[in-house]
Symmetry: none
Subunit: 412 residues, 2 copies
């Protein structure tokens, strides 16, 4: 099975939206054993869409096309596909009922847009969309499949996972392929590469995927039998654990905050956080994990010095003497949030996110993090370079990493 990915929409073509849909779909297809030949983006133009269908169906047995399924006049994908396959549009009663339920739940009255969204090419298979009004559609002709999905990432990803991948996974002729992602934090790409070396035992490929929260190591084994690729991945993973094990905190889609949350839940511990320069990002990441209310009590975003004193009980003379961005202030904040909330573990971060506010002694990018667990309070200094987004993301990661280390040390 080989595949082509098409995106439809002027906004992707002229760069108002980065086409992250293609990345998600490419990865999902590759993991399901489909060889992706290419991806394409075309504008909201029936001629361009038709031509993209033509070229895709000529080369690939599976084509996934996103975008252009909305109810407005610039949405042309559904009508163009219907014409391409010689199908008439008619109202699909079941999909229409789903739209009605969705609109009712959101308190929106039925209107002409809902009529339009209920229309489906007769002969195509409807792929349910649990969270939107655009139906997914599957067309088949002479062993070639074309899938249309909405361009809204939340809707598309859910439909890919729930409906499209199960169908793809049942197709014959897929490659033997195995991926495995090992997540690291606390070491850069070059450090990791120096320790791991150029080639993996077992012949698998390794990709370094750096981001502001760490470097993911992606092992890929292709070809041969299912057993062979399985063995190659296992050998590669053992090599990584041996060489860079101390930087590995998780695997696959597991973020640091998820791992930290699991350790907290397992130890029946509670957490609270005091943030300054990260402005709520640490709390936001922690609470993005479903079930966080089981261990996260809350936090204080103490952006002004006054709030550090008032809500976190940081002694005013600490701020006067050492400044708000200092080891002493970070320690006082971590202890303060612990005391204010009664949490088992208190985290804190204070720094200079920029672009302004830096001095020669305390430049932009300087960050202090601290963890207080009632027995000890640890603090660490970081220098993260420039860029507000970069500094805050890396500060957040450094703090979560410190929390992870503390929890690992406590648990054994």
């Amino acid at each position: 099975v080989n595949g082509v990915i098409i995106g439809v929409g002027d906004e992707r073509l002229i760069g108002q939206i980065v086409n992250s849909n293609a990345a998600f779909i490419g990865r999902a297809l590759e993991e399901a054993g489909v060889r992706v030949l290419r991806t394409a983006v075309v504008g909201d133009d029936a001629g361009a869409i038709t031509r993209a269908f033509d070229e895709a169906l000529r080369d690939a047995t599976l084509t996934i096309c996103t975008g252009g399924l909305g109810p407005t006049p610039d949405d042309l994908t559904k009508r163009t596909a219907a014409e391409y396959f010689g199908m008439r549009l008619e109202t699909d009663p079941e999909h229409s009922r789903r739209i009605a339920a969705l609109l009712a739940a959101r308190g929106i009255p039925w209107g002409p847009a809902a009529d339009e969204q209920s229309l489906v090419p007769k002969g195509a298979t409807v792929i349910p969309n649990p969270t939107g009004t655009a139906a997914g559609l599957l067309f088949e002709r002479a062993g070639r499949r074309l899938v249309l999905l909405p361009g809204v990432p939340q809707e598309m990803t859910r439909m890919m996972t729930d409906s499209v991948i199960p169908v793809v996974s049942s197709l014959p002729g897929r490659m033997a392929i195995r991926h495995r992602t090992i997540r690291t934090s606390g070491a850069g790409e070059q450090t990791l590469h120096g320790r791991i070396g150029d080639a993996l035992p077992g012949g698998a490929d390794l990709a370094y995927l750096p981001s502001l929260t760490g470097v993911r190591l992606r092992i890929t084994a292709r070809g041969g039998s299912a057993g062979e690729v399985e063995r190659a991945v296992a050998e590669a993973e053992a090599h990584l654990v041996e060489r860079v094990g101390r930087f590995i905190y998780g695997e696959e889609e597991e973020e640091l905050e998820t791992v930290v949350g699991r350790l907290l839940a397992a130890g029946s511990l509670t957490l609270a956080v005091a943030e300054s320069c990260t402005g709520g990002l640490v709390a936001r990441k922690i609470t993005s994990v479903p079930g966080a209310s089981g261990y996260f009590l809350g936090g204080v975003v103490a952006y002004s010095n006054n709030l550090k004193t008032k809500l976190l009980d940081v002694p005013p003379n600490v701020i006067e003497r050492f400044g708000a961005v200092s080891e002493e202030c970070a320690r006082a904040m971590a202890a303060g949030i612990r005391a204010a909330t009664g949490a088992d573990i208190g985290l804190s971060v204070t720094g200079i996110a920029g672009p302004s506010g830096g001095t020669p002694e305390k430049p932009v990018g300087l960050v202090w993090t601290a963890v207080a667990d009632g027995e000890t309070t640890r603090a660490a200094r970081h220098q993260f370079g420039e860029g507000r987004e970069r500094v805050t993301e890396r500060a957040c990661t450094a703090l979560l990493l410190m929390a992870w280390e503390t929890l690992m040390a406590r648990s054994g």
Copy 2:
């Protein structure tokens, strides 16, 4: 002039990297008056690259291709292009000197990779790369141009801006084109479309770009003279202001939190926020704007009921009688954060983000927001459907929108 954008690289194809290069190039070309026909991504495969060149040069007068210009064996773009145009590779002395200087500055010795990077197809024009070893290359044949650029975003963007766009801007036959993006919040795509109607006066096109924070309306006028497209955009904008003006909060890249921040700064007002279900997202958005420390004092993420009482002074009997997700609690939180911080304006949000925690009376997605400004406290009820990410993003937007309305009413 019309254009095609090609990206080369397995990592883009299988979704290890999001292809943000295409978005940047698409936008740059469109702004220079080039009509972008499509973008494509192909793998590290000479056959696929050749075919992509063929299709691009058939349809477009200008093709920009990124990636595959490195020195490793999987980098095939330069050799494939040389073969495609029937050119021999030879060392380019000037480019070779640039590489030598670059390596010297980084303390890297000259090696086989530098030899490889010095080779250039004889007959192609070299586009200087100030920050990397890969030469950009321009090929011309029968009035069609193919530009090769490295895939490293920092190198590519600089070369596009410094060298490619100046050449493009001198080509005859470019379109007159004007874009304008109007940002709305508080109304869905369907509501906006119902009010705006199918066609814009003046003949410009309108695209609806929905996200969880609102719908952007993108006006595009093409063709004719510069004066004509300018007029068409102005007419379209006047129409939008007339029809949906009350939902318009900004334009182009301006986020709601930026506009709110500007109004606060203009009025010399300070802000603080008390969050529950959004878990820090509101504070994070507000502090993502450079200069936020000028008006944002801080916030409390009161995830547990105990913290709502302890840090925000919400009376325990309010939570007992009405629950933490209630109008009464939202009002008490907004007033409480205002009092605790001394801010002019206090914002609050409390709701059920899910996936668990819902009841028939208070389902997942129920959110209360409130704004207290010392004179009055306004509260609003929302029902946002399912999905933790969706509920928190929309709750945050609803609260920022309420803050915006309050500030607009005060200032006007």
